[in-house]
């Protein structure tokens, strides 16, 4: 009786569900049930992996030229030849979405990388230095936070001119603040730990203590933040593209595709809706993954 009871006891949710399947003791059935419970996560990973491959090798997914106009097939509804239909100039919408991924993804990646590097660097400096330098960096962060994100982007675009990379630059600068604040908080808690004190008591130089002990132990939450910010960056880039500040035509980034399609929403719904659906799926997938990383990282 007691033995049968044990096997029926539901397994308590572990703080880090990703690591569980690596346990060798798992039976095949348990693995399967794990995958089913985590179906959303698996799907998210597939979507993001697909997105990366698409943006690196778009020609694998479509043989059509996203820029080639063919008036004879303008505004076709989706069918087996044109999966997403065609626009008013007869360009294949699927090809445009596929090639647009490169622009959207590349710009978002650049923005997050910039935010990560600048933010964590300033965060470490603030967290380690204390005193006036810390106050100075934090007040700059406060000032940046006081400017609405979109306003910041507009300001940068006004100075540097339109373009996806300029949008990404602005998002990266604005986003570095949240990375910086998280990093500073982490650094301050890690620097209070015994092993950090031990390192300096053993004679490790101050820079060595920071690089070898403080940074490796405070960087994990930033990785989860990066995934989250990636989704936000994609959305902002899409929004700016939608408003017409993005890629120069005829190159199409996703936001611009949706904006273009909007004009035909009564006669050719697919032009706006299909790129929008793709966009939503990708951002959802990225957010899902960032959540899971966040749970694992907080352990």
């Amino acid at each position: 009786m007691a033995n049968t009871l044990i096997s029926e006891v539901p397994v308590v949710e572990k703080p880090n569900p990703i690591r569980t399947p690596t346990e060798k003791a798992l039976s095949r059935k348990a693995t399967l049930s794990f995958l089913l419970r985590r179906l959303d996560l698996i799907l998210s990973l597939v979507v993001v992996a697909l997105l990366v491959v698409v943006s690196l090798l778009p020609s694998l997914f479509t043989s059509k030229d996203p820029l080639k106009a063919d008036p004879s097939v303008s505004l076709r509804a989706p069918d087996s030849t044109f999966w997403f239909g065609t626009d008013e100039l007869g360009r294949d919408l699927f090809a445009r979405v596929v090639y647009g991924a490169q622009i959207s993804l590349g710009a978002a990646a650049f923005a997050v990388l910039l935010a990560f590097v600048i933010g964590s660097l300033l965060g470490v400096i603030a967290g380690v230095s204390k005193g006036w330098l810390d106050s100075f960096i934090m007040r700059v962060f406060d000032a940046v936070l006081a400017i609405p994100g979109l306003l910041m982007v507009f300001a940068v675009l006004t100075i540097l001119g339109n373009g996806v990379m300029n949008i990404a630059l602005a998002i990266g600068l604005a986003g570095s603040v949240s990375f910086g604040r998280v990093m500073r908080a982490e650094v301050m808690s890690v620097r209070a730990s015994t092993y950090v004190e031990a390192a300096s008591a053993l004679g490790v130089k101050p820079l060595g203590v920071v690089v070898r002990h403080i940074i490796p132990n405070s960087i994990t939450p930033l990785i989860s933040l990066a995934a989250l910010e990636f989704g936000v960056a994609m959305l902002t880039i899409g929004a700016m593209g939608y408003l017409g500040f993005g890629a120069e035509p005829p190159n199409a980034e996703w936001g611009a595709l949706i904006a273009d399609g909007q004009k035909f929403v009564r006669s050719a719904w697919w032009l706006g809706v299909l790129p929008g659906v793709v966009f939503v799926i990708v951002v959802l997938a990225v957010n899902r993954i960032s959540r899971v990383i966040g749970q694992g990282g907080s352990k």
Partner: protein, 555 residues
Amino acid sequence: MSEATTSPLVDVQKVSVTYQIGRKRAQALREVSLAVAAREVIAIVGESGSGKSTLANAVAAMLPENSTVTEGSLRFDDIELGSLRDSQIRKIRGKRIGIIPQDPMSSLNPTKKIGVQVQEPLLLHGITSKEDSKSKVLALLRDAGLQEPESVVNSYPHELSGGMKQRVLIAMAFAAAPELIIADEPTSALDMTVAKRVMDHLQKLVQETNTALIIITHDLALAVHRADRIVVMKSGEVVEVGLANEVLKAPKHEYTQELVAGAPHLFHPGTPGAPAGTATHRTNDRPFTAVSEFEASNENAILRVSGLVKEFPHGKRNAYKHVAVKDVSFAIPKGKTFAIVGESGSGKSTTARMILRLEDATSGSVEFMGKDITSVRGEELRQIRRKMQVIYQSPFASLNPKMKLADIIEEPLRAFQVGTKEERRNKVFELMDAVGLPKSYMKRRPTELSGGQRQRVAIARALALSPELVVCDEPVSALDVLVQTQVLQLLQQLQADFGVAYLFISHDLGIVNHFADHVGIMNRGEMVESGSTKEVFAKPQEEYTKILLESAFNL
């Protein structure tokens, strides 16, 4: 110490308990049998993970939900506990079996007044009416040894000291006049002198009320001095049961022998229970000439501390000063061990931190290798640290969790750029060998090691640069008893091999007695007494030292 004549109060027959952790199952008890007679005091001794707490929880019918009794029978006063429903168990637990939990700091509700909390079991079990309960609560608290129960009743837990909280918990355990009390490590969170007073009182109460007592402890000394019988547990099995004196004098099982050997000061304790004075510890009849030996060794001191003071200003505009360390002076001869002993808050760790220059001294001086280092900074200080290393109390906190073992040990060598990369690696292997860590461990991270292994890593790291002095801040207090012995032996061996001096911070007089050449006793920031260990332990001059020694050896 009489043998049970009638059927025992607690009768555990071949009980096995397993835990379900995630998808793994772990066996915590393996066919354990145990009988406790009425009015008997028994101690269950074992390391962490030995199953002693599981056994106690099983007797109290409060095993956690993820555990299962797979076989055997658990009887309390001839009632089979396994057959009872929850509601029936609740009538036994608390009423007929009282429980004193391990950690007094977290076992009381912080939002309720003490009076209300002590009242609770009384009302719950219908022992007194609400009107009578007030006077009963006061009586219980007074019996538990609280001096002013009237003020305690209206206090919140955070207003009481650890010892007072433990007394409150004792009062609660005795509230329903139970037949059995289970005390799970009742004093491990308390200072020595407090622990002794609390145990004295608990023992008195048990005797007066004819209650049986089960003490769960990792401390063999406590077990020997307080219990009639001792049960020794290891990895879920009872390895030895016997009368306290007999187990100590002639341990049968190999593990018990190790345990006894690991607590050498027990070989000449006072009679258990008897109010033995410090006289029984004058094991070494060395005459007083030891003083001159200590003074003479001052000549070639590696570390000399004089008039060290640390004040922590606080309050509005730092108007108040908390004096953590008052005018402390001592010296450590080359290659010798000096121990600072004291209870928490005595200033021993602050003294060590000032010597390590992790804390700045308010006044006084620290002289290391003939050089005043009281206010050196930057690179100069770093060069001093090459010869003065540190081992922390908790090996769980002092090792960077992201680094591999070999990198951790190499850290000081790399910091001072000793040799080439290859030479450093070889040195790391030598060190690992010296502290008894297999070479195959080099790629492991601290989380993959046990506490004892981690402390070995910390020791290897501290010795990497062949320092003249290693400051050991409670280096074994986070470890199990047997592991303590191993680590201490290792430290002694390494001292013999490398001629390193130790500044040894500890609260454990038993360890200090066998480990240190010289000892300084600290109380409330002052070093009340210092001298050679033998001399101080044999002929303590100060009242505080006498109390401390008595507490330590007669727990």
